[in-house]
Symmetry: C2
Subunit: 328 residues, 2 copies
């Protein structure tokens, strides 16, 4: 089975690639070929048993989407996107990459499908940013999409295209609305959501972190490990029962920032919690209050998608996956 | 006040134009200029007190949307679309006109807005086709959009763009989800929804009509007169209270086909009802069963949008507007 990963150099792409190196079995198929795409060529994993090719492509450039599907992958995992903050700052770039790029990919498959019956599975990484306040808690599966960012708009549009192209028979699509991934490995970044990870990641290694919002802010989280699990499950799931509704809220953990901090205290003690410095930021607070507090994720759970069931588990996944299971 | 109507040669466009000729007051403004656009130049009304220009434009062609806004209308009413059936048969044409055309219009305004602060009001004729079965009855305002046609997908995408471009400050947008318009004047056509009008329109003038679906099929209707009313109300309404949620389910009448027929009987008697011939059509029945049975339309009603409150009223509107108030 041949998998193409688009956006393979990003955090989730790298983790998915590593996971397929460790365990190439996607029942009933065995992954024996991976083609990795990003705007710069991704690094090839050294220890994969099958064939790996790494290429640069920008789907929004003419002819590039056709290049991606020329090798006729059986499964395409589309993770490529301009993140929320950048799509808000650069209107043209956001629409070009997040909307036109996805549409070019879908259209390239459509043309091939009409030409010779090519019919891959396509997994699209969408986002809970398709939802925007005011929101109920928990948000049911049938709640409408009222994004408050251009990024969320672009994801919601790509979802609609994915559903229509699937209904038309051009590919077998599924859209996965990822929760905010926590704890993101790596350095603190400027994303408005960065603090959700930072207030745990930095204290776990003895460093200070800044908390810009009140502790009663509630949000929806899953670990990067769960994100890889969602993608693997979407790759093997029988999609027939989805019918024409192809986009799913993924399961996760709904927690307030205060609950995140108490989980940190249980796992790493008061000394870790003392490293969190409160620096209220009205702009970030206002943005975050427009975000989703939590979901029933009923359909996804019924279809077998699973995530952590507590924030303690989310922190332990990070300690296992990023800190070799060791606390300071 | 200068109004541009795009899709002015269509049924709703012609009725809106005629309404503005009769009553050019859109409080607090007086319409003293109309520019009418369609793929072929619309006919100019002879009796308008102000200036009228009629032009041909296809928004999806390069440079055409810029042409439409070059005269800087204060209000743009965007009615242009490929209908549902044709958009389903011709995938490329549907996406080109219904998605790329709308986006080209929105982008042309955006460019002008960024250049010199141009900030028109834009009314977009959307459709209840953004909803697809299984659906609750009545459908609440916050129900998700799961279109089952490419047309519905294109309308849902245009709605998302309209909301984002409005949030970004490029124009003042409002999307109006029109019910199925009944009774459409004119000849029977091949649209799957055509029978909803035909089973009333033809018997009212002593002609036979074909009913292809069971009498318990329930759907959502408003008269063409109400559609014009929605557009006029959207033109004058204070849009501030809409916040970022710019697309509204319009009010209407939920009725089964059986209830439609009983309204016809009350108004035109058994002899009219006897002209309806049952010719079950499985394909049409299946399509129509995926359509919306009815809405709360709570937000729109609170904002002052009004429609008929019974099917009798819908039939009487047709007799008044199309048959000079006379029954055979």
């Amino acid at each position: 089975m041949h998998i193409a990963i688009i956006g393979a150099a990003g955090m989730v792409g790298r983790k998915l690639t590593a996971s397929l190196v460790r365990d190439p079995m996607l029942k009933p198929h065995h992954v024996d070929r991976m083609t990795l795409w990003d705007v710069l060529p991704p690094e090839a994993p050294s220890d994969f048993h099958g064939r790996v090719d790494c290429h640069a492509a920008d789907l929004s450039e003419p002819g590039q989407a056709e290049k991606v599907i020329a090798s006729r992958p059986d499964l395409i995992v589309h993770l490529a996107a301009i993140v929320s903050g950048e799509a808000e700052l650069d209107f043209d770039k956001g629409y070009r990459i997040n909307l036109d790029g996805s549409r070019a990919l879908f259209d390239a498959i459509r043309v091939q499908s009409l030409a010779d019956g090519y019919h891959p599975r396509l997994i699209f990484a969408s986002s809970i940013a398709v939802y925007g306040a005011p929101l109920p808690y928990p948000i049911p599966d049938d709640y409408h999409h009222t994004p408050l960012t251009s990024y969320g708009t672009q994801k919601a549009i790509s979802e609609l295209l994915l559903a229509d192209y699937t209904r038309r028979g051009f590919f077998e699509g599924i859209g996965i609305r990822l929760p905010t991934l926590c704890i993101r490995p790596g350095k603190p970044n400027k994303a408005a959501s960065g603090f959700f990870s930072s207030i745990l990641r930095e204290p776990l290694v003895g460093q200070e972190a800044v908390l810009p919002v009140p502790e009663d802010v509630r949000h929806w989280h899953a670990s990067p490990r769960s994100a890889v699990g969602f993608l693997r499950h979407a790759a093997t799931l029988d999609l027939q029962p989805l019918g024409p509704r192809r986009n799913l809220n993924m399961p996760g953990v709904s927690a307030t920032v205060g609950e995140q901090i108490e989980a940190l205290r249980r796992i790493a003690g008061d000394k870790a919690v003392r490293l969190i410095r409160r620096e209220p930021d009205d702009m970030i607070t206002q943005m975050v209050q427009g975000w989703a507090p939590g979901f029933t994720a009923q359909r996804a759970r019924q279809l077998g998608f699973t995530a952590e069931s507590s924030f303690d588990e989310i922190i332990r996944a990070h300690i296992d996956d990023e800190l070799n299971g060791q606390l300071l």
